[in-house]
């Protein structure tokens, strides 16, 4: 049994997927990696949604005695043209989730979209980490969690090679 699983894997997959059109070229490894990306994006979406709701409720309009996120989220860097960055983050995570879901189900173009959106998120995260470390010198747990999630997403995208159909 184990022998078969190890050695005959590619063949087994091909035969098991006969009902799926060849062009979608789904494999279990891809599905698992995209499922992890979906989960990461979901956690990110929850994080960003929470921050957006707090921002809109006016909570970040004040500094609270117990060290919180207000130094970061109340700063001018937390908004882009009046729109809370957390809201844009929520949209980005939702986009990443949608793309990962479609990719997991074998939609070829979804991967390109996922790579694009994660690349933008990665660069934005680098910039925001720079702002927190060197400009504000204040950190926010929720923002650091988001940074970790984006790095993990980027890692997943990098280790998931394009399938034949994606090229």
């Amino acid at each position: 049994m184990s022998k078969r699983r190890n050695k005959g894997r590619p063949r087994e997959h091909q035969s098991a997927r006969t009902i799926v059109p060849e062009a979608t070229g789904r494999s279990r490894a891809h599905t698992i990696l995209y499922a992890i990306a979906m989960l990461l994006a979901l956690v990110g979406l929850a994080d960003a949604t929470y921050l957006t709701a707090s921002h809109l409720a006016g909570e970040t309009a004040a500094c609270i005695a117990a060290a919180g996120c207000s130094d970061v989220l109340g700063s001018s860097y937390a908004k882009l043209g009046g729109v809370p960055l957390a809201g844009l983050g929520a949209l980005a995570y939702f986009g990443a989730f949608s793309a990962a879901t479609l990719a997991a189900f074998g939609y070829a173009r979804a991967r390109k979209f996922l790579v694009g959106i994660v690349a933008v998120m990665f660069l934005t995260t680098l910039y925001l980490l720079y702002v927190m470390s060197f400009v504000l010198k204040a950190y926010c747990d929720y923002c650091l969690l988001s940074a970790a999630l984006t790095f993990a997403l980027a890692g997943i995208v990098i280790v998931t090679p394009p399938r034949k159909a994606d090229r």
Partner: protein, 228 residues
């Protein structure tokens, strides 16, 4: 069925995110309102809180109908934002509003306490508001620096203060006592964050801390229609 599953999942996640986001927003909004109501009850008690520093820092008309009392921390970014808003309002409502500044330096801001003392030390030489403005203006620079002292020294110099006296007052009892008195007043009013704003003794919810929100509050007291 497989064909629709990914789209169903995406739609489900969108709905859950929107729904929970709205629920979080509502619960937070309700809590903020409840906090404001609790503070209002405290403020409506006959004592109106402890008096705070004598001869508080006042800007604007002495006999204005509207008094905006602000509790702030120079290192808190939203306080800096609010100070700009208050300045605009002071101009827009010249002769009708009076601004009172009170200190509420938070412990988690290492330079907030010394900054409050620096403003008070400048105040002893009649330059409180000038130091207040400079501190907010350059907040980003000094907040990130290891020490506040070189910054306030340079501000004191640019304001033409007696530097020896300023240095002495920074450590003096008089400045400390003023900051402590404001803190007592804040505690008696139930203030626990900055900025906190009271208009004619009534606490204002944080969601109203922008120009439009504060204009509405002021206009209601002045009995005028807020222009749309």
């Amino acid at each position: 069925m497989n064909r629709y599953l990914p789209f169903a999942l995406i739609a489900l996640v969108a709905a859950v995110a929107l729904g929970s986001g709205t629920a979080i927003y509502r619960s937070k909004d309700a809590r903020i309102e409840a906090d404001a109501a609790a503070a209002a009850e405290l403020a409506s008690q006959p004592t109106n809180g402890k008096p705070g520093a004598k001869a508080p820092h006042i800007r604007g008309a002495a006999k204005a109908a509207v008094t905006i009392e602000e509790f702030a921390d120079f290192q808190c970014p939203p306080c800096g934002t609010l100070s700009g808003v208050l300045k605009n309002l002071e101009k827009a409502y010249e002769g009708k509003v009076r601004m009172v500044f009170r200190h509420y330096p938070l412990q988690n801001h290492v330079h907030a306490g010394p900054a409050a003392l620096a403003a008070e030390a400048a105040g002893l030489q009649g330059k409180f508001w000038e130091m207040h403005d400079l501190l907010y203006q350059h907040r980003a620079a000094w907040a990130a620096a290891p020490s506040l002292r070189p910054f306030v020294d340079s501000y004191a110099q640019s304001l033409g203060l007696d530097l020896a006296r300023f240095a002495n007052d920074l450590e003096g009892e008089q400045t400390k006592a003023r900051v402590a008195a404001d803190r007592e007043r804040a505690d008696s009013l139930g203030v626990d964050r900055t900025p906190s704003v009271f208009i004619n003794q009534r606490p204002i919810p944080f969601s109203s801390f922008d120009e439009a929100g504060l204009r509405k509050e002021i206009d209601a007291l002045l009995n005028v229609q807020t222009p749309q």
